[in-house]
Every structure is written in C-alpha cells, then in structure tokens.
C-alpha cells in the first residue's frame, strides 16, 4: 500500500511517514497541497493521503476539495492529521470529502486505529 504524507513540517512528515512505513506502507511526501496535487498527477494513485490543515501555498482543506472534485482520484482515502480541533472544522473537513480526522498530538496506536476504521491497516499489522 502507498501513502502520501502532506504536511509543511518536515519533522511531522518524518513521524507520520515513519509510522506508516512500520505498518508496511510505501510513502511519498509533499510540503503543501499544491505539491501534493503534483505528486498525484505524476505518479500512481496512493491508497491513502494524510493531510495537514494549515500549510503555505495550498492548505489541506483546499487540497481535499480539489481531490474530491477529480473523479480520477476517487479511490484515494483522505485523512486530515492536524492540530485544528474545533467541532466546526471537523464538520467542514468531512463535508469537503475527508474520510477521517486525527488530531495532533496523536499516538501511533490512534493512527493505527484510524487506519483500521478505514480498512487501510495492512495485513499482519495490529490495531
């Protein structure tokens, strides 16, 4: 399985991508929504994208909206991974087309449980 990790923090990308690789994912990274769209245009479609909210150039909500507007990307599962924790923001992200929402800071167990909810926990990995 492949995951695209979208976050403007290099340290956070390393944490998320590292956790996903331990579970058996191949990972690619992007520092903002625009760069993430380029990754989608140029390569095979990942199974999962983890998406930060606040990023320069293109924020996560805009990225989610643009991905959902493109039928070629409908098999891509989107999970917001962000410090934004207001009720209304979670509603907005889900309405825009995000499938799940994980709030920072998070534990590896909670990431695994979210993947399990999405049916994206690789065989052999334990939630």
């Amino acid at each position: 399985m492949r995951a695209l990790v979208v976050d403007d923090s290099r340290a956070m990308r390393k944490i998320i991508a590292g956790a996903l690789r331990k579970l058996g994912y191949e990972t690619v990274e992007a520092a903002d929504g625009a760069e993430a769209l380029k990754v989608l245009e140029s390569g095979p479609l990942p199974d999962l994208a983890t998406v930060d909210w606040n990023m320069p150039v293109m924020d996560g909500l805009t990225f989610v909206t643009q991905v959902r507007a493109n039928r070629d990307y409908r098999a891509l599962t989107l999970m917001m991974v962000t410090t934004e924790a207001e009720h209304g923001q979670i509603v907005r992200a889900l309405a825009a087309g995000a499938h799940e929402y994980l709030i920072k800071p998070f534990t590896v167990e909670s990431l695994e449980e979210k993947l399990s909810l999405l049916g994206l926990l690789p065989e052999g990995a334990q939630a």
Binding site: A85, E86, H87, I90, V91, A93, L94, A98, H99, E100, Y101, L102, I103, P105, F106, T107, E109, S110, E113, K114, S116, L117, A127
Partner: protein, 276 residues
C-alpha cells in the same frame, strides 16, 4: 478503596523514570483502573496494597508490568471493532425480532472503566433502535469509583477521542468544551453507571438482553471465572447474548454456554435458551 497518596506518588515516580510520561495529580483514577487487574492477579486486596508490596520489596518484573499498564493499551471507543460490528449487524437485528412486543432492551457493560464501552454501545443503538422509538438502557459497572466518576462525567481529552472513534460519530455525538469533548445528553442519558465488584451479587442489576464482559475474566482465577459466568447466565434473559474479550472463553470454565460465530467474533448464549 481509594489509592493512597504514598502509592500514587511512588507509581508516578516509577512511570516518569521508566517512560518519561508524567502522571499529574488528578490521575489517581487512571492509575487505579489500570492497576486493578495486576492487583487482582497478584492476589492483593486492593491497588494500594499491591503497590505497597512492590514498593517495600522491589520486584523488577512487577515494576515493568506497572509501567506497561500505565503507558499502553488505553481504552478505545468501539474497542477491537469486530465485536461492535457483530453487535450492530447481527445481535441487534435478532433482538429486534425477539423483543418486538416489548420494544425495549437492557445491556450491561460489566467492566465499563472510563465509559467508552457503554457510550459506544449507546451510539451504536441510536439509528437502529432509538430512532425507531425503542427504549434502551445500558448499565455500566466498574470496581473503581474514581473511574466511574470520570465515566459519569462523559468528558474526554483529545488523546482519548483520537482512539478508535470515527470522525462522523465524534461530530454527531460530542460537543467541544474547552480542550475536552463532552458526550451529548441524548447518549449520556441512555447510560447509568454504578459501582460493582463482579465477585459480589448481581441481584440489584435486574435482567439483561446483552452482557459485554470483555477483557476482565482474564484477571480472575478459574473458580471465580466459573462463578461469574454462572451468575451472568442468571441475569441474561432467555435468548440473550454475552460478549467476551478476544482472549477469553467459556470453554473449560463453564460448559453451559453455546458459542455462535458472527464474522470472526464468538458470541455466547446460555444453553437451552437460558433461564429467566
């Protein structure tokens, strides 16, 4: 029995030294609830007595077990997923037929800890039963009063909310209060909590259609398990269901249960329909 300050402080120092996790004052309920299984397994009368025993006669293996109990395996919403799927997709539809005249269900969450299990059950029943005018009462019991106070409050940290709760259910059934999340009243009023030691009488609880007795039998000896299972049979209504934890079984303990496989989950039903 509440945790003594000496025992709590000693555990906090141990956990901070071994894991860098800081347990602040007010986390007594967490320490007590996580260590109750270890105390039971060691035959101690309560958590304070268990901790004092290790504090006065240091035991490396026991110290590691305490640190692990406090740093891993936090209670999740819809814990392990599959039992709740079996509950929603098979058990509830079957009970809707069996109880069509009374249109009422009672469910016991027998080791309810900080409330995630009974509230998950209440959330599961919202669309399938409550919206159709059925009544449902969920009783959550636990040994620890501190854990029960937290469960009754129905207020959870962000870290707790991240554990296994689907985002659409979070926004539907919880309200943000400061940095925490409060379970909404329609879910909260379906659940009643009370203190209960599983080795004591269940007579005051009444009868149930479903019992969740998950991840608690493993901490009792064989005789106590047998006693608990035989008395759970007596509080199950005819045609009722019992869920155990993934590592737990009635086999070799109490043979008066039939097992049914729903997906990969075993549910247990009293043989011959059970007794009223």
């Amino acid at each position: 029995m509440a945790l003594t300050t000496t025992a709590f402080d000693w555990v906090c120092t141990l956990v901070r030294k071994e894991s860098a996790i800081v347990l602040e004052a007010g986390k007594e309920y967490l320490v007590e609830s996580r260590l109750v299984p270890l105390a039971r397994a060691a035959g101690a009368s309560d958590v304070s007595a268990y901790v004092d025993g290790i504090r006065l006669r240091p035991d490396r293996r026991a110290q590691t077990a305490i640190v692990e109990a406090l740093t891993t395996n936090e209670t999740s919403w819809f814990r392990d997923g599959a039992p709740f799927t079996a509950f929603s997709t098979s058990v509830i539809p079957a009970l809707k037929q069996a109880r069509a005249t009374t249109r009422s269900l009672r469910i016991w969450s027998a080791a309810s800890s900080t409330g995630q299990e009974p509230y998950s059950l209440a959330i599961s029943l919202q669309d399938s039963l409550i919206a159709e005018g059925w009544r449902a009462e969920i009783i959550g019991t636990d040994l620890s009063n501190e854990v029960l106070e937290k469960a009754k409050a129905g207020r959870y940290s962000q870290l707790e909310m991240n554990r296994g709760l689907p985002a659409p259910l979070l926004v539907r059934h919880f309200t943000r209060v400061g940095t925490q999340w409060q379970v909404n009243d329609d879910i909260k009023k379906m659940v009643r909590f009370q203190q209960l030691n599983l080795t004591n009488s269940y007579a005051a609880l009444g009868q149930f259609d479903v019992v969740f007795l998950r991840n608690v039998l493993i901490y009792f000896d064989l005789e106590t398990k047998r006693d608990i299972l035989s008395r759970v049979r007596k509080v199950l209504k005819p045609g009722g269901y019992m869920f155990l934890g993934g590592a737990e079984t009635t086999l070799g303990v109490d043979e008066n249960w039939d097992r049914e496989l729903i997906g990969r989950v075993s549910v247990h039903r009293p043989k011959n329909g059970g007794q009223a």
